[in-house]
């Protein structure tokens, strides 16, 4: 039983960044823009979030306050960076995949250059611990308390709150309805007076915010508040894309997909805790490959009937009917 708690407690801080970034991808694609730049945006957000932590860690601010403000900083940074994608793919009608690739390449180089020139480092190392041993009261709830409110990070709770908000925004609000319309049939949206460009800016910007936050949460929950231009976010942005597809562009499914991968990943590194796996004596490398291979398998099985937003990837051009 301990092992199960352990696996889940360790899965959550890894699953939450994936969840948030995949939700970001979902908002972007639901508006019609393929956001392959998630990896870069994550790193951008993580960098500025960590930079903020670095600047204030000496002050008397409590770690959770710093985390919350850092989250805002990361979200805003992500938003700003995502504007580069919006501008190119919405206004300039550029190829979204190429622009995304450029943005992914740009940011590690930026971080390395900046960090090397100013910190003589590959990134930012902070010294604030955001870990929460247990959250008062909530942690006492049987089972749930131990799973979600002990040995955790604030990021986990925020992640699930954002998930709930995402569901409401996407399905219950005017904005969500319009956003989905733009990703499916922008001409229809346009013909009822919805500004497709604006909605797409909104979709990409939300993805920027979420990816920025996701990046920062990755730094907090996985990298102890540190960011390196070298290891970046270890392909989490790309994994998030796969998670989003696996989740069929739907928030709750995305949550399950994200947790599935996070679980595999955690499992892969905790093999020694599970005697029957450990006794197999399989090379660790295979376990490292497992999440990627599982992604491929799942995609292979689901891709045939996967249903992406119809208009995604196609620049919107009013004059084309």
């Amino acid at each position: 039983m301990d092992v199960v708690y352990y696996l889940i407690q360790n899965m959550l801080p890894i699953g939450v960044p994936l969840l948030l970034v995949a939700l970001g991808g979902m908002f972007s694609e639901r508006s019609g823009i393929i956001n392959i730049a998630l990896e870069g945006i994550m790193l951008f957000g993580a960098f500025f979030g960590a930079l903020f932590v670095l600047l204030v860690q000496g002050s008397s601010m409590g770690p959770q306050t710093i985390l919350l403000i850092g989250m805002l900083v990361a979200g805003i940074s992500g938003l700003i960076y995502s504007l580069l994608l919006s501008f190119a793919s919405i206004n300039m009608k550029a190829n979204q995949v190429i622009v995304g690739t450029a943005l992914n390449m740009l940011i590690p180089a930026m971080i390395l250059l900046f960090s090397k020139m100013f910190f003589s480092s590959d990134g930012i190392t902070t010294s604030k611990s955001f870990y929460i041993r247990e959250i008062p009261i909530l942690s006492k709830i049987p089972i749930i308390g131990e799973l979600f409110f002990q040995r955790t990070y604030l990021t986990v709770i925020i992640g699930f709150i954002i998930l709930a908000i995402s569901v409401v925004v996407l399905y219950k609000t005017r904005f969500g309805l319009r956003l989905r319309a733009c990703g499916e049939h922008p001409h229809a949206a346009d013909s009822v007076g919805i500004n497709v460009y604006k909605m797409r800016y909104a979709g990409v910007s939300i993805s920027g915010v979420l990816a920025g936050i996701g990046g920062f949460f990755y730094a907090v929950g996985v990298m102890d508040g540190n960011v390196s231009g070298h290891t970046g976010v270890a392909g989490f942005g790309f994994l998030a894309l796969a998670v989003m597809i696996f989740g069929q562009w739907k928030p709750i499914r995305i949550m399950f997909a994200a947790m599935f991968f996070a679980f595999l990943r955690t499992l892969a590194y905790s093999v020694s805790l599970i005697p029957f796996l450990f006794d197999l004596g399989i090379d660790q490398t295979y376990y490292k490959i497992l999440p990627y291979l599982a992604t491929m398998l799942v995609l292979a099985l689901t891709s045939k009937n996967s249903r992406a937003p119809k208009a995604e990837g196609i620049p919107y051009d009013k004059s084309q009917r």
Binding site: I36, L84, A88, M92, K93, A94, N95, Q96, V97, I98, V99, T101, A102, L103, M105, L106, P108, A109, M110, L112, L113, F114, K116, M117, G229, G235, F238, L241, A242, I245, D283, T285, K288, I289, Y292, L293, T295, M296, L299, A300, S303, K304, G313, I314, P315, D317
Partner: protein
């Protein structure tokens, strides 16, 4: 009337030049390069104003004194550039050049260490092995795309990781290849190293010549053969290709396989390069890092407009500014400045075409101002050109749709 005629001529000429597609992509590339360099300079200016000029001079001219190295470092990225570009022609985005490159390198290494062949052929066989290794790693995303309808971007990213982990494991578990106390592969025999071209101070070798020959062959395949015809047709319009009885699935797999092979050869070229130090060689360190040359290949391909011959130029160019970028260390900058410049170039090249035609239209509008006349009377050729202008934009936007 006389004046009008003159203006007409001028207008006509400009249209003619600007609407020529070769000019357009070159113009777009130059534009993107220009903007990339400007951004690089601005960053240098902000970071270290007192050295910015000196640093920028290195970026621009530093490669001059190191032409051998320029070609040497251009070799693998030319191959990965071809890998990305070739697939691009078919409308496939091969972001997996990295994994294919690593796989090719491993196969080449394997042959280098484990096969006993005479020096005169050993390196050739090893390059060929690299080709095979890369092909396998291109074949897989091809299969996933063609038979299972999984987006090749996702597959190739996943297989970048899988390939990297596998190769690192295989190498570490192989005592013949791996020197654990140096955490890298052992030196390969000089017989497996590609013969150097003998340019002093650089390891530039036959690889660059072979790479250029391969680029030319790819050009011929694309432009002169039925396979190239099918491939490009599929890239432009896969429905029409299917309608014409082309075997789309087979072609997807074939294209990805060949593309992978190109990247694989790139990996072989990199690892089989000769060393200026006697008894030494290139080595590979299995530390779970995705090969950067694969990603640089994307930049090379995009800048070269996926055209094999253009790719030769773009690979050389990127290598050139990288060499200059290294020298900026001497005035307090870091070579990453070049990665930034390259990323910015790609960013702009994604829509430089559109930007350019907007500018061209603006120029035309300026020049054509005083001879405005009812449109229905414009001669047909002029009209054709205007339409074509639009077409370029449309073509681009349609590509994105895929």
């Amino acid at each position: 009337m006389q004046g009008n005629n003159n203006a007409d001529k001028l207008k006509f000429n400009i249209k003619n030049i600007t609407s020529h597609s070769g000019f357009k992509s070159l113009g777009a590339a130059l534009m993107a390069i220009f903007l990339g360099l400007v951004v690089g300079f601005i960053i240098m200016l902000v970071a270290r104003p007192e050295n910015a000029i000196a640093g920028f001079r290195f970026v621009l001219l530093g490669g001059m004194g190191r032409l051998g190295d320029v070609l040497y470092f251009a070799t693998p990225i030319l191959m990965t550039g071809l890998a990305v570009g070739f697939a691009f022609k078919m409308g496939l985005f091969n972001i997996g050049a990295s994994g294919q490159y690593t796989m090719g390198m491993f196969f080449a290494l394997y042959v280098a260490f484990n096969w006993d062949l005479p020096g005169s052929t050993h390196w050739i066989v090893a390059i060929f092995a690299g080709f095979v290794g890369g092909m396998i790693w291109g074949f897989i995303p091809g299969i996933f795309k063609a038979l299972l309808n999984v987006n090749e971007v996702i597959t190739s990213i996943m297989f970048n990781y899988i390939g990297m982990y596998l190769v690192d494991m295989w190498i570490q578990n192989n005592g013949v290849m791996y020197n654990s106390s140096l955490t890298r592969t052992r030196y390969i025999a000089s017989g497996v190293q590609i013969p150097a071209l003998g340019i002093a101070g650089s390891n530039v070798n036959l690889g660059i010549i072979i790479a250029i020959i391969i680029a030319v062959i790819l050009y011929i395949v694309l432009e002169k053969t039925t396979f190239g015809y099918e491939l490009k047709a599929t890239g432009h319009n896969k429905h029409a290709a299917e309608y014409a009885g082309m075997q789309g699935k087979r072609n997807i797999i074939l294209t990805m396989t060949i593309a992978g092979g190109m990247a694989g050869i790139g990996g072989a070229f990199a690892i089989l390069a000769p060393s200026a130090i006697a008894g030494s060689s290139m080595t590979y360190e299995p530390i779970n890092i995705i090969a950067a040359n694969g990603f640089t290949g994307i930049a090379v391909a995009l800048l070269g407009n996926a055209h094999p011959l253009g790719t030769i130029l773009s690979a050389t160019f990127i290598s050139y500014i990288q060499r200059g970028g290294t020298l900026t260390s001497l005035v307090g900058f870091k070579p990453e400045i070049i990665d930034i410049v390259v990323a910015v170039i790609i960013y702009f090249s994604a829509f430089a075409m559109i930007m350019n035609s907007a500018i061209a239209r603006f120029i035309k509008a300026r020049l054509g101002k005083d001879d405005e006349k009812p449109l229905q009377e414009t001669d047909s050729e002029n009209e054709e050109n205007t339409v074509e202008d639009e077409e370029v934009i449309k073509k681009e936007t349609e590509k994105e749709a895929e």
